[in-house]
């Protein structure tokens, strides 16, 4: 199986560990991820905020490249996924001139939904060598992956289950909670710290109250927000995993603690205590 892969800027920097984990997971599952050649940034919130035309044109370049290859896109970053889908819809309305040859007809998947299909879950279960027994997690989706439903195509946007299914397939004990898609503040913390902190802290508190030992995410920005805020708070030790990291861990008999060195909240003690490392 072959699918085109749009990593997005974060996966080259802040979320390099996510990139490595994805690589390992897809290789183990025998799915050929073809990185879009010479991809460029989707524009994220900034292009959308300051220039509507650019927020359509920037993702369109990557859509055009994937269309040329004739492959559907899978995007690991929630915001990239959202921007690509948004761009597709506006391209079809033909209200902006797009400098590239693009129809907007290919399918854009977010990586979690792609892996949460029943055939993929079956494949994951076959590959699991060491189930993550006893690891209590909550899954956190954030905004951009599920909302607005008319763009993302999620029908269960109030209680999304894609990450839950993946984490459960890896053997983790998934706890239900109410803050799956509450906003973490995205990039607002950089310019207005107090707003970002108030939103992020609430999610951490609620995860702890739900009895979670770790949070599973798929969005690089959610991960860094939830992770970095814990750096000066010794009372809060809730590691934030990318779902791909958990899959990678379960696919292999002996994981490597070095995989987690980019985390601020070190997950190694927790994993060792559970006998998973």
């Amino acid at each position: 199986m072959k699918i085109s892969f749009y990593p997005g800027c974060s996966l080259e920097g802040m979320a390099k560990d996510y990139f490595h984990a994805i690589d390992a997971v897809f290789e183990a599952m025998d799915i050929d991820l073809v990185e879009i050649e010479d991809w460029s940034c989707c524009g994220a919130t900034a292009a959308h905020s300051l220039s509507e035309a650019m927020s359509v044109i920037l993702p369109a370049r990557n859509l055009a490249a994937a269309e040329k290859m004739g492959l559907d896109i899978v995007a690991p970053c929630a915001n990239c996924f959202n921007r690509l889908r948004y761009s597709q819809q506006i391209i079809k309305k033909k209200v902006f001139d797009i400098p590239w040859q693009v129809t907007g007809d290919i399918q854009v998947h977010d990586m979690t939904r792609f892996l949460a299909e029943s055939s993929m879950i079956k494949l994951i279960k076959e590959r699991v060598l060491k189930p993550l027994n006893g690891l209590k997690v909550v899954c956190y989706y954030g905004c951009q992956m599920v909302r607005p439903p008319k763009i993302t195509g999620y029908t269960d946007y109030e209680n999304p289950l894609t990450l839950d299914r993946i984490a459960a397939a890896a053997g983790a004990e998934v706890i239900d909670w109410s803050y799956k898609s509450t906003c973490c503040g995205a990039s607002i913390g950089i310019a207005r710290k107090e707003i970002g902190e108030s939103l992020t802290m609430r999610i951490l508190q609620k995860a702890q109250q739900a009895g979670a030992e770790a949070i599973v995410v798929s969005c690089p920005l959610c991960q860094s927000n939830l992770d970095i805020i814990q750096k000066d708070r010794p009372d809060r030790r809730t590691p934030i995993f990318y779902f791909a990291e958990l899959l990678r861990l379960s696919f292999i008999a002996h994981g490597d603690p070095k995989w987690f060195k980019m985390h601020f909240t070190d997950p190694v003690p927790l994993l060792k205590a559970k006998g998973l490392l």
């Binding site: 802040m14 940034c41 400098p99 951009q144 909302r147 906003c183 310019a191 207005r192 970095i228």
Partner: protein, 211 residues
């Protein structure tokens, strides 16, 4: 928090010497324009406040989301472009998702932010506006956004640097940056995209510059 309180007070009690705002003296020009450009049916709003109740940051806004929609109906353009609301909005799309009348509130606020960026009005949340601006500058230079370049460019903006210096958070931010570098989360060099020229061209066209 104090700001919000004093603002609400200002709304309730009419300040002497300040001209009272009239309702309905501006016609539908602004409403029609936003409805056409943003493709949002703003007239459908009946002020149920579900958007404001769903909003995670309405507490930090001077004009609440449902009020913003009403302001558009009344044509109060300058008040909206001067508000903190348009910059504080996170585009988390809660308002849009839960509106019973399918008013795309987030897209509307985003459209106002676009308008404000192209107007002479100084943004009320300057640091947020500068952050978006810096992001686009970095994007235009390399086709991709490297977080190290972004944070560097952002902190070196005169307004931001002075603000950080004044409130004493500069050291803390620098230390965080160093830790991020040490952990390998910030990469000093990442490959640029070959699309820079195409992106520059599209950017100039989007701004209405010919050739």
């Amino acid at each position: 928090m104090q700001n919000t309180v004093s603002h609400q007070k200002g709304m309730a009690e009419h300040e002497p010497g300040k001209k009272r705002k009239l309702i309905g003296d501006r016609g539908n020009y602004f409403l029609d324009r936003i409805q056409g450009e943003a493709g949002v049916n703003i007239s459908a709003c009946f002020q149920c406040e579900r958007c404001t109740n769903a909003c995670p940051v309405s507490h930090f806004m001077d004009i609440k989301p449902h009020q913003a929609i009403r302001y558009i109906q009344l044509g109060w353009r300058e008040d909206l472009l001067k508000s903190s609301t348009i910059w504080v909005c996170l585009s988390c799309e809660m308002c849009t998702t839960y509106c019973p009348n399918e008013v795309d509130v987030a897209e509307t606020i985003n459209h106002l932010r676009n308008m404000a960026a192209h107007s002479s009005i100084t943004p009320k949340e300057k640091s947020l506006a500068v952050f978006h601006q810096t992001f686009l500058e970095v994007l235009r230079k390399s086709g991709k956004v490297n977080e190290f370049r972004l944070m560097n460019a952002y902190y070196l903006k005169p307004d931001i640097f002075q603000e950080k210096l004044k409130n004493g958070t500069l050291k803390e931010e620098l230390l965080l940056g160093l830790t991020l570098l040490r952990k390998g989360r910030l990469k000093i060099f990442t490959p640029r995209s070959r699309a820079i020229k195409d992106i520059q061209k599209a950017y100039h066209q989007a701004r209405g510059e010919i050739g």
